[in-house]
Symmetry: C2
Subunit: 521 residues, 2 copies
């Protein structure tokens, strides 16, 4: 039997008392490690984090917490090679795809360390300017942001065991709020190892960071009014979390990032072979294959003018054809595996569901697998589907296949394209491709109400843009409706979730005391 | 049978098809009007508001919508006398208490008209500055706020039929989001009449404002992903709304303002008879009796140093003794009725519940009623309770009696006081009384994480402060935990709830197009 990973709660490493659940290599099929959270004293675990961790973090200034994040980043940087090994083994990802998770997490930590240093020696933040409450300026209202006096519970997704932890933990810890992370079981190893390295390095106060690997059973029951929970995963689980008494009755603040049927839109007026056209084909092929399409931000729908449908299918298909699929240990392989047999089944079922209303434009099942046994490996080639009935093919607008799958959708005019995109009922991201700045800006504003992010690719930024699916810490990550309605990242905006806002109405003499101390020379 | 009030939906007045529910005069017991929403075509009503109302409002600039709010305010101002008559008859309030609701609503409208004018000729808002996404400044991220493409449903409370509508509608309409209001049945008349006057005046585009009087049954079922719902009322109903599929499955954004056990705290170090001591006694007596204590922001717990318990009881009791209770039409009466027999019962039950763990320091049942029949009128005198067991009397920290009732709670030291206040598990407001600016500021920051607002009363602002319970549009209204976790008002912050935030990542050429046009000379 493989090694059973420990949980870190209440300031010490604790093994579960059950047999545990095995984690597998999705390419080789071998068992790697086991996780188990049976029998943990959860009330004690949450109380320790809330009380000891919270008090210790709140006693620090933002600058001190920022320095702590920088130290944390250094610890992770020192163990980077091990993380890549775990990612290859447990996530089946090629090096470039592991980097999105591992280096993406480190980069995000670094950005928050820098942003936090700029907040200086304060323990609360002023939110806007004071506002007079009458003609006399002596009595005013000043909004402040103070850390919530609770824990942040993260229930995370399998596709980002590193980035998914740090993109949430960086703003939480910087805010002075202790973190308890429950990674998705299938890929929990990397999360657990990173926490282990950080704990061993002693860079965080006791109770600031806990990890629970295994079942999430009972975690929500621990939450009290000033705690927060951030969930990334399926809409079904999101609904369970949202209807839990902690949220419904105790007003526990919840952030959800769930399903999303993201779009790429080639604006009207572009010719085949134009720069914008080629940028679309390149980005679609890249987004479909990075991490085998297992990104919540991946492109699922590709909208092009009706007249360009055939050329777009050909251009994207030509790029997909070059994608070598198989064992990530083989250096010629560009796309590794899905994360598990369960995900492989889910993608196959999703494909079958979509094929009822679409035709296959590029068939992933025709891709040979390199160094991988099709009977064992969770590998699939990229598949481009297409529909000639953009309005009638409702499954295309309602189904997220979490793998290397996208559907080409022809539109009549700009209004039709926007209307089709909105049928996703709220998405994380849409990307726009074109060369007319005014038209791009107008479309971006039109799509802003149904997306957390609009990524605009024009020829002048062909070499500079950061990618449709890459989540930059400077920008909001989240989306309304189907995407869960959450807001993560966005630079210092991320701190809002972990702070409580209050208006202090007082005399000028009292409000003066709330201002940060002048920086020392 | 009394007049049956019509509903205004889908651009026309529509009567319900049922017998309706009667509204009563809580002092005289007479039936006033009836409301009924049976048989309304709710899908059509919501679609009309969402599509016609939404499109019309979004086509306007912020400045145009602000001018619309100003026009709306003028219409209401012209009918102000009728509103006072309705308030006297249906809410049983004295003129000063009607003013809190009626003039409070008009004032809030005016503030948003002014704030909105400052937003100028834009149709979306920039949110912060652009952030570089790499070394090259040509590709950046700019957050924008755009109106959500949906309706705002307000399910409102009985205590503020005017202010409760306008404090929500002003930011919604200014944001470009159409409003459907469902007032609490007991006092729906004033809301309905105000909407009627506004509709008749033709100052709003079709679909911008609808009113549904009667049962809220089926309303939540209409909500789609880009709609929002704002609820004010009991924690029980809040839980029903939060667990509705619209919220749980469709991510409909929800704002809740529910129960709150607000506190007033006299800081340590004040002597009986000191200015701060007298300010506390005055404010507590005022807050207990304004609108017969039927304000979510009213003071429910009064914390004083143990040594001042008896003197505080005496000082507050002396002020309460002067409160004349009864028919608001009698000019000597200072405090009118509770809003209904149901509320009278609820207050009596709440008092009985608290009396198990407290003693009566000032007995409201000893107050004579002026011009009111005790067998008919929903009038009660103000009651001050007290406990000598601050830690053990859990009911005091958990029970909101929605009437003229508060409990005096002695504390040992500052830390004990803060801990007792936090046992409210999240409140709308706490007020602090003292003369030491540094101590007041430190306590305000300590209480900020469990309150939406901290109101600080020091002798220098004795004549200037705006009152513990008065909700100023410049300040946040809401509170974490038991208070529902919502955020209303706070100046332009209120617009956030009705907008969607998105990051636009694009070249400088595209982002330049997002900036507002230069103001014309």
């Amino acid at each position: 039997m493989s090694e059973r990973l420990s949980n870190f709660v209440a300031g010490r490493w604790q093994a579960g008392t059950g047999a545990g659940t095995a984690l597998f290599d999705p390419v080789l099929g071998t068992e790697l490690v086991r996780v188990d959270a049976t029998g943990l004293d959860l009330p004690a675990a949450f109380a320790f984090a809330r009380e000891q961790g919270g008090a210790a973090l709140r006693a620090m200034t933002y600058a001190q917490r920022a320095a702590m994040l920088a130290a944390l980043g250094k610890v992770l940087q020192a163990h980077r090679d091990v993380y890549y090994e775990i990612a290859t083994a447990n996530s089946g990802t090629v090096k470039n795809d592991s980097a999105v998770d591992i280096d993406g997490g480190l980069f995000t930590l670094g950005v928050y360390a820098k942003l936090g240093a700029g907040l200086g020696a304060q323990r609360h933040l002023l939110d806007g300017d004071a506002a007079r409450l009458g003609k006399d300026p002596l009595f005013q209202s000043q909004h402040v942001l103070v850390p919530t006096r609770g824990v942040a519970l993260f229930i995370n997704a399998f596709n980002f065991p590193s980035w998914g932890l740090w993109e949430k933990a960086a703003p939480a810890l910087l805010s002075g709020v202790p973190v308890i992370v429950k990674p998705a079981t299938a890929t929990a190893w990397l999360t657990q190892r990173m926490v282990q390295d950080v704990v061993n390095a002693g860079v965080l106060p006791a109770g600031a960071l806990s990890v629970i690997c295994g079942s999430s059973s009972g975690l929500m029951d621990q939450l009290q009014p000033f705690d927060v929970v951030s969930f990334t995963g399926s809409a079904e689980t999101a609904a369970v979390i949202r209807s839990h008494p902690a949220v419904v009755q105790r007003s526990v603040r919840v952030n959800i990032e769930a399903d999303s049927i993201n779009s790429a839109l080639l604006l009207p007026g572009e010719t085949p072979g134009s720069e914008a056209f080629e940028l679309l084909a390149k980005e679609v092929a890249r987004e479909m294959t990075v991490k085998s399409g297992q990104k919540c931000t991946a492109i699922r729908r590709v909208l092009v003018p009706e007249a360009l449908y055939a050329q777009a299918a050909e251009a994207i298909g030509a790029r997909l054809a070059k994608t070598t699929v198989g064992n990530p240990r083989n250096e010629t392989v560009r796309m590794g595996a899905l994360v598990s047999r369960a995900q492989l089944r889910s993608v196959q079922e999703g494909l079958a569901h979509l094929k009822v209303q679409t035709t296959v434009l590029h068939d992933g099942s025709q891709h040979p697998l390199f160094d991988a046994d099709p009977a064992v490996a969770c590998c699939v080639g990229p598949t481009l589907l297409g529909t000639q009935d953009a309005d009638g093919a409702d499954r295309v607008h309602n189904t997220e296949v979490f793998g290397p799958v996208a559907t080409l959708v022809p539109y009549r005019d700009a209004a039709h394209a926007l209307q089709l995109i909105r049928r996703g009922q709220g998405s994380l991201v849409a990307s726009l491709y074109g060369s007319d700045a005014a038209a791009l800006a107008a479309s971006a504003i039109e799509l802003a109400s149904s997306h957390g992010r609009v990524h605009v690719i024009s020829p002048d930024v062909a070499a500079l843009h950061t990618g449709h699916g890459n989540v930059m810490p400077q920008s909001l990550h989240g989306g309304p409706g189907r995407a869960g309605g959450g807001e993560e990242l966005g630079g210092l905006k991320a701190l809002n979730f972990y702070h409580r806002r209050a208006a202090v109405q007082a005399s000028t003499a009292v409000l003066t005391q709330l201002s940060p101390p002048a920086p020392s020379a």
